[in-house]
Every structure is written in structure tokens, then in C-alpha cells.
Amino acid sequence: MIDPIISTSAALALSVIFASAASHKLRHPSWFRRQVQEYELIPGLMVPAAAVALPVAELAIAAGLLWSTSRPYAGILAFLLIGAYALAIAINLARGRKDIDCGCSGPAMRQPLQPALLARNLLLAIVALCALLPMLDRPLGLLDNFVMIAAGTVLVLLYTTTDLWLANRPLLLKLSGEK
């Protein structure tokens, strides 16, 4: 049992993160199809279906996290999806294919696969865990609602910052010649 403030702010942040991830995938379908193909985990015939199913699932999760009745189920799905992405990255890192694009943040921001992405997904999984755990039942005041929204906003901002930071890291390593 966790406090509703933690659960709701985690769910809000996760919802925004999934919605933005789904939006850049849906806006650039051909780019994402090639991305799925480059990971070389799904048989060729199923690639177009997976490239449509993944963003749709992300969108459904983002919507499901917003309502308290559907939140536990959406939270479990989010947890599984984050785990699946981490697994896909880990398999390709183990294959030594560090040069393929992560496909994490749209075509505008390319970044190669790197172990730090696994750490990022672990943190996202913890946030998802916070969202799916059962809540304490207590009356919520105005301040509680404010804190929920504020904490959710900070989480989203920090996630975006971390993502950009991770994307900049390989560029810096390349500059200093420590590839």
C-alpha cells in the first residue's frame, strides 16, 4: 500500500512519457518501421504489424494510467513494455550492435545503443511499479492535488533531461576520441 500522491504522480508522469513516445512513433511510421527492423528481433513479415501495435499499445497505456480504475492494469502493461524494450536493447548490446539507433526519442534525436539506456529503463520500471501498487484510501485535499501535479511535472522534466543527457554522451565521447 502506498500513498495516493506517489502513485498518482508516477502515473501522471508515465502517462505523459508514453503519450509522447507514441506520438513521435505514430507521426513517423516509416522511420519507426525501419527502427523495429534494425533491432532484428521480430521476423520480417511481422515488422509492419509490430510497428503499428507498439505505439497503439503505448497510447492505450497512457490513457489507461489516467483513470484510477484502469490504472493497475495499465501499470502492469507499462512495466512489461518497459521491460521488453530493455530486453531488446540488452540483446542487441550483447550482439555487439552498438551502432544502431536506439529509436527512443524520435528521428530528430538519434542516439546509439548504450548500457546507460538499460539504467534509464530500470528507473522507468520503478516509476511504473509505483503506479501499479495499490493505493491507501484517504481523503485528498487541494494541496495533495497540487503536489501530485507538481511531482508529475518534475518527473517528466527530469526524464526528458536524462534522455537528452544520454543522447549527448556518445557525441562527447566521440569528440574526445574515447570511442
Binding site: M109, L143, F146, V147, A150, A151, T153, V154, L157, L158, T160, T161, L164, W165, A167, N168, L171, L172, K174, L175, S176, G177, E178, K179
Partner: protein
Amino acid sequence: MQALIISNILLWLLLIASSLVLLGLIRQIGVLHSRIAPAGALCSTRALKLAKQPRRSQLQTVSDARSISLCRERSTLLFFLSPTCPICKSLIPAIKAISRSANDLDVVYVSDGDALEHDKLISQAGLEKSTYIVSPEVGMTYQIGKLPYAVLIDKAGTLKAKGLVNSREHLDSLFETELLGSSTLQDYIKAQSESPGIHTPS
């Protein structure tokens, strides 16, 4: 109680503001990275014309007096340096990184001057296993007026790119010319200004 609530709200607002500042800073770093990405090698116009076959010079290395030829199955990067030039020394790690990451590239260090100084530089920079040439003739062939200078020669022995290199980006820009299809930065800018639809890096 009132004071606590107000301070709590204020702290949240300030936390959001500082996260925004952090995000802005990281974004700026990303923009900086994209701005310093190479566009093409800068080279002085009076020098040797590019895409011409250079003379097939036979070169003598310092370490084992073995002769190497510039025309063979692999591309060659000639890096002109001098033991008395600090920037040259600071670029050696970047050159090593490039030679490690590119499979079909031979790196040749070219220098001239006193032999003792070269031995010191070779042991300091760990260049024992690299090809290190002491030959003023090579420098004259490629009309090298400034140091550090780099010349990229492709598999067919054609001069692909050359330029004064002061940083890792300048080095990368030599290789970038193959991708962009313009041999110098001047050519690149000329091509850009002739086709107004394309964004020119400013």
C-alpha cells in the same frame, strides 16, 4: 501550518523551475554538438589540386627503414607533425582513435628534423607500432606550409581531402568530404549557396 504549506508550494515551484533550467542547459549542449559537427575540410586554395593522383612516393620509416608505398588496397591518412608543436601532440590520441575505429585505414605520421627529438616523441606518445616517417620530401610534395596538417588518400591513391587540423572535428571533416561529395569546405558552401532550398549552416 500556513507557513509550511506556503513553503512547500514555493519549493515545488522552484523545483519545477530548476528542472526547466537543467533541461534548457542540456538542450544547449545538444545544439552545440550539432553546430560543431564537421562540414568539410578547410584548405588553402593555392595548394595541390584535390582528386589528382599524387606522385607515387616511396617513403622510408624511421623505425625499421621499411619502404611503404602510398598506392595499395587501403586508404592512407598522412598526419604531418613536428616534435616542437604542442597542438600536434595533443592531436595524437584523436589520430589513434580514428585509426582504431576505421578498419581499412593506414595512418602514417610524417615529420622532419632532428632524429633524437623524434625518438623522444615516439616513446612519449606511444607510437612505437605506428608508421612514423622523417622526410622533408613528403612535406614538399604535398606543399605543407602549416602544422598540424592531414592528408587523406583513398584506396586508388587519389588525394581525397586535406587540411590544417587543429581539433578532432577538423580531422573528422576530412572523412566527411567523402560522404558529402564536396572536397573542401569552400566547395560545400558554394554548392549550398547555389541551391537556395537547402539550409546553410551558420
